[in-house]
C-alpha cells in the first residue's frame, strides 16, 4: 500500500526536479536525498540553562516527529541536516533522552550528514558524518550561502515572507529560490524567521527570485523585496 503523496511544490533547479515539502524539508527524489535545515534541537534547554525563560520543553520531540513523518513519506537513503541542527554545542551534548531516543531510529539504516552551522560547529557524539559542506553533483550543501556560489543549497537565514490577500495578512516560512541558490526555511519548531524583504535577503537573492511559502501545498510567489 502506498502512503498518500505528501503535499509538495515541484521545482526545477539546475535541471533537477526537487520537491519543496509542506514541512519545510527539501526532497531530491532522483538522489533519494532529504534535506532539512536549522533544526535547533535543544533550544528550550539552552534558554533555561542561560537563565532565560523555561519554554515548553517539547520542541525537540515535535521537530523530530515531523522529520519522522517526512522520512516515512520519502524513504531517503541520505539525510542532510544543513547546520544549526543543535542550538549550540552544549545542547548536542545535553540532548535529553527522549529526544535522543527519537533521533537514533531515524538515523538507523541511512546515510546521515551533519553540516556544521554557526550555532553548532563542534563534532558531536551522535554518529553520522560531520562535514562543513557536502557536494553531490551538481549541488553543494552548506549552512550559510556564499556570494557567487552556484547550485548551492543553504539554510541559516530562516527566511519568511508576507502576503496579503483580501484583507488578511499571511506570514509563512519560505524557501527562496533563484537561478543559483536555494535558501531553506528553518525546520525546527521553535524558530523565528527573517523577512525576505529585509536588506540581507534582498541583497542575497538575484532579481526574479521566488519565495515558496510553506502551506498544504506550498505556494510560490515572486520574492517580496525591499522597496527600492
Amino acid at each position: 500500500m502506498n502512503a498518500p503523496s505528501p503535499p509538495i511544490h515541484v521545482l526545477q533547479f539546475r535541471g533537477h526536479t526537487l520537491h519543496a515539502m509542506a514541512s519545510g524539508a527539501l526532497h531530491w527524489p532522483a538522489a533519494e536525498l532529504l534535506c532539512v535545515s536549522d533544526l535547533h534541537l535543544g533550544k528550550s534547554e539552552r534558554m533555561a540553562r542561560r537563565g532565560g525563560p523555561m519554554l515548553p520543553p517539547y520542541e525537540g520531540i515535535d521537530t523530530l516527529l515531523r522529520l519522522d513523518a517526512d522520512i516515512a513519506a520519502t524513504r531517503p537513503r541520505t539525510v542532510v541536516c544543513l547546520g544549526d541542527s543543535f542550538d549550540d554545542a552544549a545542547s548536542a551534548d545535553a540532548l535529553d533522552d527522549v529526544t535522543a531516543s527519537h533521533l537514533r531510529p531515524l538515523m538507523a539504516g541511512r546515510r546521515w550528514i551533519w553540516i556544521a552551522g554557526n550555532h553548532d560547529p563542534g563534532p558531536i557524539a551522535l554518529g553520522g558524518t560531520h562535514l562543513s559542506e557536502y557536494r553531490l553533483a551538481p549541488f553543494v550543501f552548506r549552512h550559510i550561502a556564499e556570494p557567487g556560489a552556484e547550485a548551492e543549497i543553504s539554510g541559516h537565514y530562516h527566511p519568511k515572507a508576507r502576503l496579503s490577500g483580501r484583507g488578511r495578512g499571511i506570514t509563512r516560512p519560505c524557501f527562496l529560490v533563484d537561478g543559483d541558490r536555494i535558501v531553506m526555511p528553518a525546520y525546527g519548531t521553535y524558530t523565528g524567521g527573517l523577512h525576505c524583504d529585509g536588506p540581507e535577503l534582498s541583497a542575497l537573492m538575484a532579481p526574479g527570485a521566488r519565495a515558496i511559502l510553506l502551506g498544504v501545498p506550498p505556494v510560490a510567489v515572486p520574492m517580496p523585496r525591499r522597496p527600492a
Binding site: 533555561a48 537563565g51 515548553p56 517539547y58 508576507r162 490577500g165 524583504d197
Partner: protein, 804 residues
C-alpha cells in the same frame, strides 16, 4: 483627629480657603489602617489624601520615606509633585517630595533607593520594581502611609492586582502601614475597599459631597443619525457649534479609529480654523506631548480623544465634554463627564452624540441611568494567577523566601484572600521549574529550594531579567509608522500588526489626523507618504473596545416593554413601533430569534443583548453548530445586542441551536483552536514570566533570526502538556475577557427555554442596520490556504511567471 500644625492652617487662612469637610474627615481618620475616599474631581481629593502626611511630617523628625503615592499615570505623578511642592514650600515645611517613574534617570533611581524622599510619587510598575531589590527592606523601613490615587481605574485591571500584591509586601517590610484610596464615583465602593484593605482589616468609606448633578443631554441634530456605523460624522456641524460656544471641549470617542475619522472630518468642516487637537494611545509620544502642552497652555479649543484622557492632569478650563457614540458603560460616562469643570460645586456639562439609530436608544437609557445614579460594573472575580506568578518572581529577585510566609502575605491581598495553598504552590512550581509534565529543567530551575527550605534564584543574574519584565500591561503587537525616507522618516505613531498586515501598496489610512499612503513594510516599520488629497480607507486599527454593560443592556430591554417611547426622537420611536408590528421586540427573559430570506441567502438574527464580545462568540458557536447540521452558514456579524448569520439554508427550528449542552460542547472544541486563545495566552505568558517581553511578541531582537511566534508555544503546550497551568490560566482569562462566555451563560440562564423563533418573509426593521455593520466574519475552513493560492496566482501572473 490629627491636629493641623500652624504652618498649614496659616497657609489655608492666608488664601482665605476653608478646609473641606472630607479633608477634615480624612485627618480625623489618619490613624485608621485603611480609608477609601470617594470624591468628585476638583474636590480637593489629592489634598485630602496628603494633609495627614503633611501634618505628620511638619516637625521634621521623621527620617526616610513616610508616604508613598501611587497613580496610574506617570504624568499624574509628575503633576502632583509640582502641585505639592508649591504649597509645601509656601508653608515652609521640611518635606522632600520626588517622583519615580520609567522616565526617572537611573542615577536618581539608585539614589532614591538608598536615600528615599519623605514623599515618593510613583506608579504600580515602578513600585513593583522597587520591591524587587535586595535593599527593599531598607528603602521602605519607616514607611507610614500609602495613597493610591484613581484607585477606581486601577481596580479594573491587573495593574491594580499587582499593586495590591506589592502593598502586601510593604506591609511586611513596614508593619503598621496605613492605606488610603482616592476614587471617583463608583457603583460598588465596598468592592474597592475590599481590594484596598489589608485583609481582614476594615476599611472605612468616606463619601465627599458629590456636588451638583451634571448637566447632561443628548445632542440634537437637524438630521437623524444614520442606521448603522460609528463615528458620529453626521453631527459634526452641531459639534462645531458647541465647540465655538465653549472655552474648551473634550470630544471623547470609544475607539482610536473613530477618533481619527472624526478628527479628519472635523478639520474639513472647521472653516474658522479653530485650534483643535487629537490625542490617543497610538500616536507617537512626541505628538501626544505636544497636544498636552498646548492644552495646558490653554491654546486649544477642543481635543478629540479616547480613554487616554479619562484620567490625568486637571485641566480646569474644560467646560464641555462631548461623548460621541453610546457610552457602553454608565460609570465610564459619569467619570468622563467629571472631566468637565474641575471646579468644586459647579455642574459638569456634557452632551452625548448617538452614532447610529440604535445608539439613540442606548443613549437615552444611559442618560436615565446617570440621572438615577445607577452605575454599572461587573465583579472582577478572584485575582489572576499570571500576576501572582510575576509577584513570586519579583519576591525571589529580592532575596530568599519561605513559601509559607509568602502565601500568608499574598492572602492578605483582597483579591487573593481565598487563594488556596495548593494553587499557590502550583504557581510557585511553575515559576521555579516551568511546571511541565516532562521534568526537563531540573538542572536549570529558575528557583531552587535550599536545604533550609527557603526558595532562591538558581542564578542571581536572573534578577536583572525579572526586573526587565515587570508589569502587567501587554500591548498588542504594534508596528511603528514612519514617513518613507531613505534614512527612516519622522515617526507618526503605531498601528496594530494585524492591521498593517492587511495593507497593500497604495492603501490610504488616517493617523494623527493625517491621511497617509502605505508604501511598504521595512522589517517592522510601516512606511508611508503623506497624501492629503486622497480619501482615506477606513482605519480599522482597534484601540480598546468595550462591550455594553449588563446593566445598560437590561435598561434597554426594559424600555422595549413600554407601550410607547415619548422620550425618544420621532424617527427612533417610529422604528420601534414598526418592529413591533412586523415582528416583535426583544424581551429580557426571552430570546428573540428572527429568520428570513434576503438577497438570495437565508438569515438568522439572535437578539441576545450580551455585549459585543459575547455576541461574537455566540456567532462563532452557532455557525459551527449550523455547519455540523449541514446548513451551510457563510458568515456572521455581531453587535452589542445581536448576531446576524447568513448562509445557504434556512434554520427551521432555532431552539436546539441554543441548547446549553450543545453550546458548551462546541465551546470546548472551538476554544482550543481559537486565535482569541492564542492572543490571551501570549498576554498571560508574558505576565507570568513564561516568555520575556523581548521575546515572542515582545520587542524584536536585533539579531537575524528574529523571534518566533508565541502561537507556536501555545500549540506545542496544548499538544504535549494539555494539563499545564499556563493553559488553565489562559482559559480562565479568555472566558472572562474576549470570549466572554460568562455573559452567554448568563443569557442562557435568563432565557431558559423561552426562545421565540419568528419566521418572516423579509428583513425586519431592527435587523436592517445589522446588514450595514462592518466587521463581518466569514465562516471558512481552509480559507487561508485558498487565499494564499489565489494571491500567489495573481502575483505570479502579474510578474509574468507560471504558477507551477
Amino acid at each position: 483627629m490629627t491636629a493641623l500644625p500652624p504652618q498649614i492652617t496659616g497657609w489655608f487662612e492666608s488664601r482665605g480657603w476653608a478646609i473641606h469637610p472630607h479633608q477634615r474627615a480624612m485627618l480625623a481618620r489618619a490613624g485608621d489602617p485603611c480609608t477609601l475616599l470617594i470624591a468628585p474631581t476638583g474636590g480637593g481629593k489629592t489634598m485630602a489624601g496628603f494633609l495627614p502626611t503633611l501634618a505628620e511630617l511638619a516637625d521634621g523628625s521623621h527620617q526616610g520615606l513616610h508616604t508613598l503615592y501611587i497613580s496610574p499615570l506617570k504624568a499624574l505623578a509628575a503633576d502632583i509633585r509640582r502641585n505639592l511642592t508649591g504649597p509645601i514650600t509656601e508653608m515652609g515645611l521640611p518635606i522632600r517630595v520626588e517622583d519615580r517613574t520609567g522616565d526617572t534617570s537611573s542615577n536618581t533611581r539608585k539614589r532614591q533607593r538608598a536615600d528615599p524622599p519623605h514623599i515618593l510619587l510613583t506608579t504600580p510598575e515602578s513600585l513593583a520594581l522597587l520591591t524587587s531589590y535586595e535593599d527593599a527592606g531598607r528603602t521602605f523601613a519607616g514607611l507610614r502611609r500609602v495613597i493610591v490615587d484613581e484607585i477606581h481605574a486601577l481596580a479594573e485591571s491587573k495593574r491594580g492586582d499587582q499593586l495590591m500584591l506589592a502593598l502586601s509586601r510593604l506591609a511586611s517590610l513596614a508593619p503598621g502601614l496605613r492605606r488610603v484610596g482616592l476614587s471617583a464615583t463608583v457603583e460598588d465602593p465596598a468592592a474597592i475597599a475590599r481590594l484596598l484593605a489589608r485583609h481582614p482589616d476594615p476599611c472605612e468609606i468616606l463619601q465627599a459631597d458629590p456636588g451638583p448633578d451634571p448637566d447632561i443631554a443628548m445632542l440634537t441634530t437637524p438630521e437623524p443619525p444614520p442606521w448603522s456605523g460609528g463615528g458620529g460624522k453626521y453631527a459634526i456641524p452641531r459639534v462645531l457649534e458647541e465647540v465655538k460656544r465653549h472655552r474648551t471641549t473634550l470630544i471623547f470617542h470609544n475607539t482610536r479609529a473613530q477618533a481619527e475619522i472624526f478628527f479628519h472630518h472635523l478639520w474639513l468642516a472647521n472653516d474658522e480654523q479653530l485650534p483643535i487637537g487629537i490625542h490617543h494611545g497610538a500616536l507617537a509620544r512626541e505628538q501626544r506631548e505636544r497636544v498636552e502642552q498646548a492644552m495646558t497652555d490653554g491654546r486649544l479649543r477642543a481635543i478629540v480623544c479616547t480613554g487616554t484622557l479619562d484620567l490625568g492632569i486637571d485641566w480646569g478650563d474644560v467646560d464641555l465634554v462631548i461623548q460621541v457614540g453610546a457610552p457602553k458603560n454608565v460609570k465610564r460616562l459619569v467619570q468622563r463627564i467629571g472631566r468637565a469643570n474641575h471646579r468644586y460645586n459647579a455642574p459638569s456639562k456634557a452632551l452625548i452624540v448617538p452614532a447610529n439609530r440604535f445608539e439613540v436608544i442606548e443613549c437615552v437609557a444611559a442618560l436615565a441611568a446617570v440621572r438615577e445614579h445607577d452605575l454599572d460594573g461587573d465583579p472582577r472575580g478572584p485575582g489572576p494567577l499570571d500576576v501572582l506568578c510575576q509577584h513570586i518572581l519579583i519576591r525571589a529577585a529580592a532575596g530568599p523566601f519561605d513559601a509559607g510566609d509568602l502565601h500568608a502575605e499574598v492572602i492578605t491581598t483582597g483579591a487573593y484572600a481565598d487563594l488556596p495553598r495548593e494553587t499557590f504552590d502550583r504557581c510557585l512550581d511553575f515559576v521555579a521549574t516551568g511546571g511541565y509534565a516532562l521534568r526537563a529543567y531540573d538542572q536549570w530551575q529558575r528557583l531552587m529550594q535550599r536545604p533550609d527550605g527557603l526558595w532562591q534564584l538558581r542564578d542571581p543574574r536572573a534578577a536583572q531579567r525579572i526586573r526587565m519584565n515587570v508589569g502587567t500591561i501587554v500591548d498588542a503587537d504594534k508596528m511603528a509608522v514612519r514617513l518613507h525616507k531613505s534614512r527612516g522618516g519622522k515617526p507618526l505613531g503605531e498601528v496594530e500588526e494585524y492591521f498593517a498586515s492587511m495593507l497593500r501598496k497604495g492603501d490610504t489610512f488616517l493617523i494623527g489626523g493625517e491621511i497617509v499612503r502605505y508604501e511598504g513594510m521595512r522589517e517592522m516599520v510601516v512606511e508611508v507618504t503623506r497624501t492629503p488629497w486622497q480619501k482615506p480607507k477606513i482605519a480599522t486599527f482597534m484601540g480598546t473596545k468595550f462591550a455594553t454593560s449588563t446593566q445598560l443592556s437590561d435598561r434597554i430591554l426594559s424600555m422595549f416593554r413600554q407601550d410607547d417611547w415619548p422620550e425618544l426622537p420621532g424617527h427612533t420611536r417610529d422604528w420601534l413601533h414598526l418592529q413591533r408590528k412586523v415582528s416583535r421586540l426583544p424581551e429580557r427573559d426571552r430570546l428573540l430569534v428572527e429568520s428570513f430570506p434576503h438577497d438570495g441567502r437565508e438569515h438568522l438574527v439572535a437578539y441576545g443583548f450580551a455585549g459585543k464580545n459575547a455576541q461574537q462568540t455566540l456567532g462563532l458557536l452557532l455557525t459551527q453548530r449550523m455547519e455540523a447540521q449541514g446548513l451551510n452558514p457563510m458568515g456572521f456579524v455581531a453587535t452589542d445586542y445581536a448576531t446576524l448569520i447568513w448562509g445557504l439554508d434556512a434554520v427551521e427550528d432555532a431552539r436546539p441551536l441554543f441548547s446549553r449542552e450543545n453550546l458548551v460542547e462546541t465551546m470546548e472544541t472551538w476554544l482550543a483552536e481559537n486565535a482569541v486563545m492564542k492572543r490571551t495566552f501570549k498576554g498571560s505568558a508574558i505576565i507570568a514570566g513564561l516568555i520575556d517581553r523581548s521575546m515572542p511578541g515582545g520587542k524584536r531582537k536585533s539579531g537575524r533570526q528574529a523571534t518566533f511566534s508565541s502561537d507556536i508555544l501555545y500549540d506545542t503546550l496544548r499538544k504535549y502538556d494539555p494539563g499545564h497551568v499556563m493553559l488553565e490560566i489562559t482559559r480562565e482569562e479568555a472566558m472572562r475577557g474576549l470570549v466572554d462566555f460568562g455573559r452567554i451563560e448568563a443569557m442562557l440562564e435568563r432565557i431558559g427555554d423561552r426562545i421565540d423563533h419568528v419566521r418572516l418573509s423579509r428583513v425586519t426593521p431592527l435587523a436592517a442596520p445589522l446588514f450595514l455593520e462592518p466587521g463581518r466574519v466569514p465562516v471558512e475552513g481552509l480559507a487561508s490556504q485558498r487565499l494564499m493560492e489565489e494571491e500567489a496566482a495573481r502575483l505570479m501572473r502579474t510578474a509574468g511567471l507560471e504558477t507551477a
